[in-house]
Amino acid sequence: MIDMRLLFVLLIGLATTAQAAPEVQSWRTQGGAKVMYVQAPTLPMVDVRVVFDAGSARDGDQPGLALFTNAVMVDSAAGLDADALAERLESHGIELGNGALRDMAWFTVRSLSEPDTLDVAIDSLAGILAEPTFAARDIERNRQQLLIGLRQKQQSPASIAGRAFMSRLYGDHPYGHDPSGEPASIRAFRRADLQAFHRRYYVAANAVIAIVGDLDRKAAQALAERLTARLPEGRHAPELPTPVAANSGIERLRFPSTQTHLYLGQIGMARHDPDYFALYVGNHVFGGGSLVSLLGEEVRNKRGLSYSVYSYFSPMRVAGPFLMVAQTKNAQADETIAVMRETLARFISEGPARDDFDKAKQNLVGGFPLKVSSNKQIVEYIAMMGFYDYPLDWLDTLTDKLEAVTLEQVRDAFRRRVDPQALTGVVVGGAAE
């Protein structure tokens, strides 16, 4: 008997390989920074994203230092104070962005490709990377803003739960604390702490430069050299320890809210995990599809328990979390936890239904062109590829790898990797009335 499903899959495979992924080129600057580049000549603009292995996993015993350093860097640099630098960028219509999470710290500029304007963008960013001022005023202002940001998180039951979940699951591992730090550590930072962090981690060997836009390879090479000319080569950040679950079981925190927020999960997977595609596709069936998933069906569609319910693996340098999230009125918290647990246990014992599995794969494969349809998306993808050392054809082969995942692989990977009896959880909310 001819397997019609196989035929269908083959046809989809043909249709998608016809839609070429962007052509990614890569090289190193003279100073040793990795460059990832895609030419995109249609719009007269350039996006640059520079990523450093300088996220909060590098905080050491100073929680929040990575984020603080990144935030102060963009204010004043290369002899320009915060007013002058902002004026210089914005009078040319240049957009500057920055941020830090656990693995990465990054800066972005978006500029018109017109040479005089692009020059200003690159020159300014080069100054921010190599010669940040760390002015006392900038440090105090950012300290105040970070402390207020922490207070805002402390009035959000979702933020409290997310933060406590990571801490409970990862314990003392560098992923355990929140990138935004703690009030005591933020109050204690001195200029020398920021300078030392900058010296150690903002170096060429620890950088990836992603460039997408209306410039040819030669111009991109020149741009990357200019951007990093004043960066010392330095060393790449050291390897992170392999995480192990620090605690299991559910912790309950009282908060005066009408809803209880539920965060349940485990240690998940790293970027280069051999089960990456099986777990990714499996989670798409289980709780990853935005309006279509098993968890969404059971918690939201069948029972009306929650508005926002989902699960994800967060693949990181070393294993990031697998997490299920929902929120419901306080009286329904226990019922919702039970439904989430049962749905996970059933998924693991039975595996995904054949039809759900096929459709999830069709969604991921057929949806690939949507994910690389703008310069902004492409620059984020190639920066990520450079950062995690993916091969250059990663985007080209992505749909084939998704296609190749079998239902049996998903079932096997979930059985080996997720134990519904050993979940770690944090539950934040009010008492059931």
Binding site: L43, L89, Q155, L253, A338
Partner: protein, 477 residues
Amino acid sequence: MFDLKLAGGLLLALSLGGCAALETGPAQTVPVAASEAGVTEYMLDNGMKVLVKPDHRAPVVVSQVWYKVGSSYEYPGITGLSHVLEHMMFKGTKTVGPGEFSRIIAAKGGSENAFTGRDYTAYFETLSKQHLETALRLEADRMHNLVLDPAEFAKELEVVKEERRLRTEDKPTGLTYENFNAAAWRASPYHNPVIGWMSDLDHMTVDDLAAWYQRWYAPNNATLVVVGDVTPEAVVQLARRHFGPIAPFDDLELKTPVEPVQHGISRVEVRVPARQSYLMMGYKTPIVGSGVGGNGTEDWEPYALYVLSAILDGGSSARFSRELERDRAIAAAADADYSPYSRLPDMLTLDGIPTDAHSTRELEQALLEQVERLKSEPVSRAELDRIVTQLVAGKVFERDSMFYQAMQLGMLETVGLDWRLSEQELASVRAVTPAQVQAVARKYLTRDNLTVGELVPLPIESPTATPRPAQGDQTGD
């Protein structure tokens, strides 16, 4: 720079995120208009508008169906109805089962969702271009064949109440924003939250929804916007095939209360458990189109107000960042927001968070001083140049997002304006003079026209320090 998240713009739109008909009518639908930026406009015989903007950068298409209905069409007792109906639009038609719409689109590799605002309800799909017809067929089907099942409604209403708890009840800045609008608007329906008051959600019935659907979901109350790797001719042919057979409605008349003139400052306080104070201020302002009927609003005024808001907060070189955050360190964050485009006159809002060394009252005073300076001194040429340069660049940058381009066209058309405004915006902003900025500041940014909302934190009993004893791993089993 560390950006603090403020509540500005919050809750203007809510997202869900949570049968081919026979061809009729004339063989061709000719364009009504086309524009320099490549937008082609059509009108189907049943009154449905179709806007198409080709963008061939990727083999992808964005399709959006916009309806002229949202919370500003609602009245006391039925608030939140438009938004609940948006949720129910995913719960099946005569031929497509509950949730089936989403499953079909997902299996085609697409993503879809919907959002409800004050002046619109919109549904969108993003797909590979060859699947556009699937999206249009399904959208046309739910435009006139929706099945409102009481059991599905009962569950979905609970989902929406959870959404309200998430966004408003348990979010101090969300609650402040809701109270601020309720205090500012006496008669205008912008008084009501998009998600509806909780008691209105409690009272809502499936019959309310059926009546609302009957009243507003019709081709002559909708606009289809398609941006992507398509040709206008091919899109309008598909639109005619699927939407063409749907009968228009006769009566779409809507009586909207007009906001009376305000005669003095309004203040509202929100005292709830929280950790951080927060301030909102708003001045009632005209919008593009306010001048129709000769009420003394000049056509340039909304653009002068746009420039005014950018003088204050158009980036980190603008006055709020430079003076209030950096020089005086009185604000940890300060925003100004104004949109020239809405269905009804709106507000120019200022909001912010005081630094620990200053009170909310001092921040308010500092914001008022900024407003007074706009009245007493003309803004500089350099500031105006910076705003125009940013807008020129922004117009290039926005072409990187097909979704955003479609949003702009659909929003302008649906709030009762004209999609061509997005192309004229730059010229309108360029034409604004320092004297005009000063004039709108004097005319609209007055004390008698002001509403102030303040979040006053009440203590939270240290939440992370006093856990209930952990109950192990067996909870709920």
